[in-house]
Symmetry: none
Subunit: 204 residues, 4 copies
């Protein structure tokens, strides 16, 4: 019992330090960009010694990876739940947009990181699996395929369209940020869906 307690306390403390590091890393990243992210500064920001970072993470790369993963976790979870749900495909797409717009409204600075990560993800010679992004594309593609199966959408190359859709969301997000976040989220999310559903062309 005593031992259990001790071990538990230890685990909690460890988790705290680990989280502290991740938070420090994300803060620094958002504040200073990738170039400002040095192990020295992360340690300082986290209020621990440089060496301690290497107790918790193998190297800078893995720490960064973990930090980014951790900060996108809420978004990933929310989207996951949404896409797993049983809304109609078009509602799912709108929900997806909404999630993303909301998330980036709240974590406006993080988009910088996302873009960074996207770059690394796709084109780095790194060993990074491009997991997060590719998974996202695949899941949206599944929704599109569902839509086709249900006779809702015309036939389409689902992976390509999924990629387009996701990026279109990013475009909207960027524009919102550029404009100082104008207009409400719901409206913009609806507009994205609308365009992807019905197109821009005026109908008589």
């Amino acid at each position: 019992m005593d031992v259990d307690k001790k071990q538990e306390r230890k685990k909690v403390l460890e988790a705290l330090t680990r989280q502290g590091i991740l938070d420090a890393a994300v803060n620094l990243l958002t504040r200073e960009g990738i170039q400002g992210l040095t192990m020295d500064r992360v340690a300082a920001e986290a209020g621990i010694a440089k060496g301690t970072l290497y107790v918790y993470f193998e190297n800078k790369e893995q720490m960064l990876e973990a930090a980014i993963d951790a900060s996108f976790d809420p978004l990933v979870r929310e989207c996951s739940a949404l896409l797993d749900g049983d809304l109609a495909p078009d509602r799912k797409l709108e929900g997806f947009s909404l999630c993303h717009l909301r998330f980036f409204d709240e974590h406006r600075d993080l988009i910088r990181v996302l873009l960074f990560d996207r770059e690394r993800t796709h084109f780095g010679k790194s060993r990074y699996t491009d997991g997060r992004y590719r998974t996202s594309v695949k899941r949206v593609a599944d929704v599109l395929d569902d839509g086709v199966r249900q006779g809702l959408f015309s036939t389409l190359d689902s992976m390509k369209v999924a990629a387009m859709f996701i990026e279109a969301n990013m475009g909207m997000i960027m524009q919102r940020i550029h404009d100082g976040i104008s207009g409400d989220v719901e409206k913009d999310a609806r507009q994205i869906t609308e365009i992807f559903m019905k197109g821009l062309r005026k109908r008589k």
Copy 2:
């Protein structure tokens, strides 16, 4: 006269050196990525002395900027001509997609740079003007506004939609690259336009 000749020759030579540096920088960038771009290597690639780089450019940042500008110049020119032309707005959009898909098919590696640059462009604390990208958004937005004026498109928030459109193109490009560039360019360009024109929804 003699003096003029000399001066002219000098200018030509200087321009040549300058271009040589830019080419070297872009080659290195596409071959080795940003991490591989050191002043040493640029000088070696260009066949000049390291110090000479600083004769032509203030510092690394400005050199890089110029190099990226130079490498996107063909794309920018082509798009510019297209958007300045007098095609119908929807043809212009399709042309825009086509330009981009073609350009990145041919300069596949440059997309890495573009994404990198995009990040820097939008969110860095760098003094980079985000010229290229913002201009692009604005011009596409103009086309959209034209479309609206001509009664071709429904009313829309042109800047946001333009951003979406541009990013959707990037999504398509990324997916093509991920798939090993599947399908022909024209078809994919048409698909993008189609979706933005008519949407995904099946019509009876």
Copy 3:
């Protein structure tokens, strides 16, 4: 009585832990070399906590010293017994060679350590006493002096010749290792003695 038992048990346990540490250190040393010998790894190899090492040893240097001492103990004991025995001086020398060749055939990797230690021993500013090696030289010198006294050997500078003899053995060992341990131990041991007894020169 109870207290005595407890104390004894404690002592046994401590000795066990101590030996475990030494074994771990030697294993690591032979497997990975000096560079691979970190306190972390020794602790892991010994299955104890890092901090515990400092319960048993003042610091790394002393632990290493003890570990090396322990691993050469068998050789030292065997040689000691031999040189203490009452063989003729020349038989003792041959026995000495045999001991060494055999020991390093079996602990081939340890020779690396020996050489390392030799360096430290003789020339480091370390507080290492150069005990092992100097003692060895002295004892061989004693055998040589015995030989001289018995009219077996010509007069000689026994310390210098002893050093030569010991190093010649090392040379043979190195060559055997380099060749992949060619030829049988006895023959090589005999050859060393032979040369030191009769020299290389052919006699008519």
Copy 4:
């Protein structure tokens, strides 16, 4: 002509810096041992910036290698000339001993390095070719083989005996150093040859 002069001056200056680094490295090595040899200190000792070291050498390992090579160069040359000469095999061996004893009398501290290098040479997992030492063994073995061919020496395993001979020399050197270099070099060199020629055994 002018250009030639400039280039020559440059070369000389470069060689000077390079030599300065090597000298600094050897000095530090002899003064402080391997553990004391850090790039920081070498730079300080050489009176240059840390970065400059990396202009002249790829990394620490190669610098060290070059430094050691450079400091043994005189010995290697002298021995080489001697063994290439046309003395009788036994005179060559004596000359070899003489060279070595003299060299280490003068560079007493360097023996530490030699031993270090020997260790690295033979047993490191390093990419070091064990050139210096192996070559030495081979060349002495050739002399021995010559001796056998000329009917001077009994048949023998020349590589093993060569290794023994070289190490016996080292033993003598160590003993001399330990004793504070007692006795004159010639006498000790002669004693080594004597033993290897005629052995220790007293003849009636």
